[in-house]
């Protein structure tokens, strides 16, 4: 579904991604782990189309299309969704209003009929239950005055409503207490499907206890240094990033 090849990304003069290669298949939950500043969030934003990042080399093929050639909204309409680490407040715009506008923008792109409020509302309410969210969430302004946990849950609500093909969760666990983490994780797990790929970007192993990944990739200093199964995440927890990094360097240095 997604193939990233030799991706190099700059912000200003600083190169952040230094040749990332990654394949993600439909149905896969893929975890990208790494220490602070390793480029995890950059990768997530580049996939979503944030224009402050400059792609200097490499390409990203998503469902056979050149993803980097699309506007952010076109990517969204093609089924790419980013759950933000820091969801943005939009004062005065109702949550339900945004959800419906986004939902219909995507439907329109796919040549489907737009839903009116009467048909849309029951659908949203269903998803609210999934995330143990109160209906009053819908009438509040987007993320305005939300607690950290509420903001994260709101991202997952949008994810659940928009049903993307490729969901990227950027540090969704940061700032969540254990109860909220469980709710968010069960919401995400409910969205696992053979047609959908989920990329979970996280600093800590903790989230992966609840969203069990099929593959784990370790990003250090703009490169993926190790890839493996779930056990790699546990190893990281045990040895820390520096441990894994040291082993990697050793592996590179020692001729086999």
């Amino acid at each position: 579904m997604l193939a990233i090849r030799n991706l190099h990304v700059k912000v200003g003069d600083r190169e952040i991604l230094k040749g990332v290669d990654l394949e993600v298949n439909a149905g896969e939950v893929c975890a990208i782990m790494g220490p602070n500043g390793s480029g995890k969030s950059t990768l997530a934003h580049v996939l979503a189309g944030r224009e402050t990042y400059e792609v200097t080399a490499g390409d990203v093929i998503y469902e056979g299309k050149n993803l980097l050639g699309l506007y952010p909204e076109a990517r969204a309409c093609e089924g790419v969704f980013l759950a933000f680490q820091y969801p943005v407040e939009i004062p005065g715009v109702g949550n339900a209003y945004l959800l419906k506008a986004a939902f219909n923008a995507i439907r329109k792109h796919r040549g489907l009929e737009e839903l009116d409020a009467m048909d849309f509302l029951p659908l949203v309410k269903e998803k609210l239950k999934l995330l143990d969210m109160d209906e009053e969430f819908l009438s509040r302004a987007v993320n305005e005055g939300f607690s950290g946990g509420e903001k994260k849950r709101n991202e997952i609500l949008q994810l659940a409503v928009l049903e993307p093909r490729l969901a990227i969760l950027d540090e969704t666990d940061s700032g969540l207490d254990i109860d909220a983490l469980k709710i968010v994780a069960s919401g995400v797990n409910a969205l696992r499907s053979p047609e959908r790929a989920i990329i979970v970007v996280t600093h800590y192993q903790r989230l992966l206890n609840y969203i069990v990944p099929d593959s784990v990739h370790v990003l250090v200093d703009g490169r993926i240094v190790r890839s493996g199964g779930r056990e790699l995440a546990l190893e990281l927890e045990d040895k820390g990033y520096s441990g894994v990094e040291a082993e990697t360097q050793l592996a590179v240095a020692t001729p086999s």
């Binding site: 952010p72 943005v88 407040e89 939009i90 506008a101 986004a102 923008a105 928009l162």
Partner: protein, 485 residues
């Protein structure tokens, strides 16, 4: 990832929908302003001597102000000198053929208003909204007049009111905005041509929205609308005005005066959707919207509420205010002013508290984009007599892009120690992170900005009558076209 040619073309075409000109012969006064012009206007309207005398007094006062160069210069707006002798002060569409007295409206005019979304024909007219349609200097039609008359409500053109209801006009004209009030109000008092007149009798709750649609058509013509609304004891009326003008590369002057009077327990709700031609992207052309609007909450427990959505005009200079004279009276001002490209707006309100326990509420939302300059200027004055007066003001500014400006000048004068005043202000920018967030959810950049701006202005839109709130939102979006690059 540059925008495609089609996208650019689409934007260019969507700019200003009302910029067309109606080809119609018009009966115009010669260019220039002198006593003769005043006499000509008065004669065209077949006015009684008292009206002419009032106009002439106003003219003489204005002429002395002009000589002393008293055109107001304090506002935060910039424009070249206006040549008052180069303006046509009266232009009326010529009736076709012999006037048959049946009150038939020229089909050309009907078609024009229909194109503007204001059908006047018996069959098509808007349900629940009575319309007075003003074309250049004259009112061409007023709908639902008879139905309203059954309730004793007078809704007609100002010219007709001078003929049919001279006592009411004489009693109230200039009672809120004196003819010597300010340069532009004085000019209006001399040369005003048409506008609407409303009288709602005691205890009557006007069952429909009353509205006036102002259309400027003729070239080099000024429009000097005059509107007077009187709500008698215990009555209620909601009134709305809308306006548009053709696209032209020269500026045109619109100097209106609106006076509202609310007697005991009466309420007037006055809403404006101002969409005069704003000029082109380089700031060429557009209407100078220099207007004086004021209400007098004369009676006890009376209430006057102004809601304005100002998206058009090259320059807006406008401070709809309320004189809170009756005890317990309430004044409200809700405003959204948007300046894009090279538009300038200096707008706000004046709340003058005289009666006891008077309350005023001000919510101003200024939006600046392009090179637009947006100024909020407001005065809250609590007089000695206004024991227990309260005011709440909220002024928020939203900036889009790097080249626009927002300015706030709140003036507060308190002469009674029991007054309670609150003032809140904020300035924010439409952030790239907000736009990206919404685009990531599938909205185009234009739709994202429009959503953010509409969210910002929502508090004010809530005050508009339902039908017009939708129109206002749409207008705001259209006026922002091209503000994100």
């Amino acid at each position: 990832m540059a925008a495609t040619t089609e996208q650019i073309e689409e934007l260019a075409n969507r700019e200003y929908r009302y910029g067309f000109v109606t080809e119609i012969e018009s009966d115009s006064a010669p260019r220039g302003l002198n006593e003769e012009t005043i006499r000509l206007i008065s004669a065209k309207k077949n006015e009684p001597p008292w009206m002419l005398a009032w106009r002439l007094k106003s003219y003489n006062h204005w002429a002395s102000l002009e000589q002393l160069n008293k055109e107001p210069k304090w506002a935060n707006i910039h424009y070249g000198p206006i040549d008052y002798q180069d303006i046509i002060y009266y232009a009326a569409p010529k009736p076709k053929g012999e006037p048959n007295g049946s009150g038939e409206i020229d089909p050309e005019l009907l078609a024009t208003f229909e194109k503007l979304g204001i059908p006047l024909g018996e069959q098509k007219r808007l349900a629940g909204v009575a319309v007075d349609a003003v074309f250049d200097s004259v009112s061409v039609a007023t709908t639902f007049k008879e139905k309203l008359a059954e309730l004793g409500i007078i809704f007609c053109s100002f010219s007709e009111a001078v003929q049919e209801h001279p006592d009411l006009v004489q009693k109230y004209i200039g009672s809120v905005v004196p003819k010597t009030d300010n340069f532009f109000a004085t000019l209006n008092s001399a040369v005003f041509t048409d506008g609407s007149f409303v009288y709602v009798p005691k205890g009557v709750h006007c069952p429909m929205e009353l509205s006036t649609y102002f259309r400027i058509n003729a070239q080099d013509t000024g429009q000097f609308e005059r509107t007077l609304i009187i709500a008698d004891e215990g009555s209620y009326v909601s009134y709305l005005e809308g306006c548009t003008a053709p696209k032209r590369s020269t500026h045109q002057l619109h100097a209106a005066v609106v006076e509202l009077i609310a007697l005991d327990d009466a309420e007037i709700k006055y809403s404006t959707i101002q969409n005069w031609y704003p000029g082109d992207k380089e700031g060429k052309g557009g209407i100078y919207n220099f207007v004086t609007k004021r209400g007098k909450a004369l009676g006890v427990n009376s209430k006057i509420s102004w809601t304005q959505v100002e998206t058009g005009a090259a320059i807006t200079w406008k401070y709809p205010g309320v004189i809170l004279q009756g005890d317990n009276s309430i004044g409200e001002f809700y405003s959204v002013a948007l300046t894009n490209n090279y538009q300038q707006a200096d707008t706000g309100t004046k709340m003058i508290h005289i009666g006891k326990n008077t309350r005023s509420n001000i919510v101003s939302k200024g939006i600046s984009a392009g090179h637009g300059q947006n100024t909020y200027r407001g005065l809250v004055k609590i007089m000695k007599s206004a024991t227990g007066a309260r005011n709440y003001s909220q002024c928020d500014s939203l900036l889009i892009g790097e080249k626009c400006g927002a300015h706030t000048f709140p003036y507060i004068e308190v002469k009674n120690p029991t007054a309670r005043m609150e003032h809140e202000a904020s300035t924010s920018k439409v952030g790239d992170d907000q736009i990206f967030y919404l685009r990531q959810r599938g909205l185009s950049a234009e739709d994202a900005v429009s959503m953010i701006v509409n969210g910002f202005a929502k508090r004010v839109f809530r005050e508009l009558p339902m039908e017009f709130a939708v129109e206002a939102q749409r207008l705001l979006s259209v006026s922002l076209e091209g503000s994100v690059g």
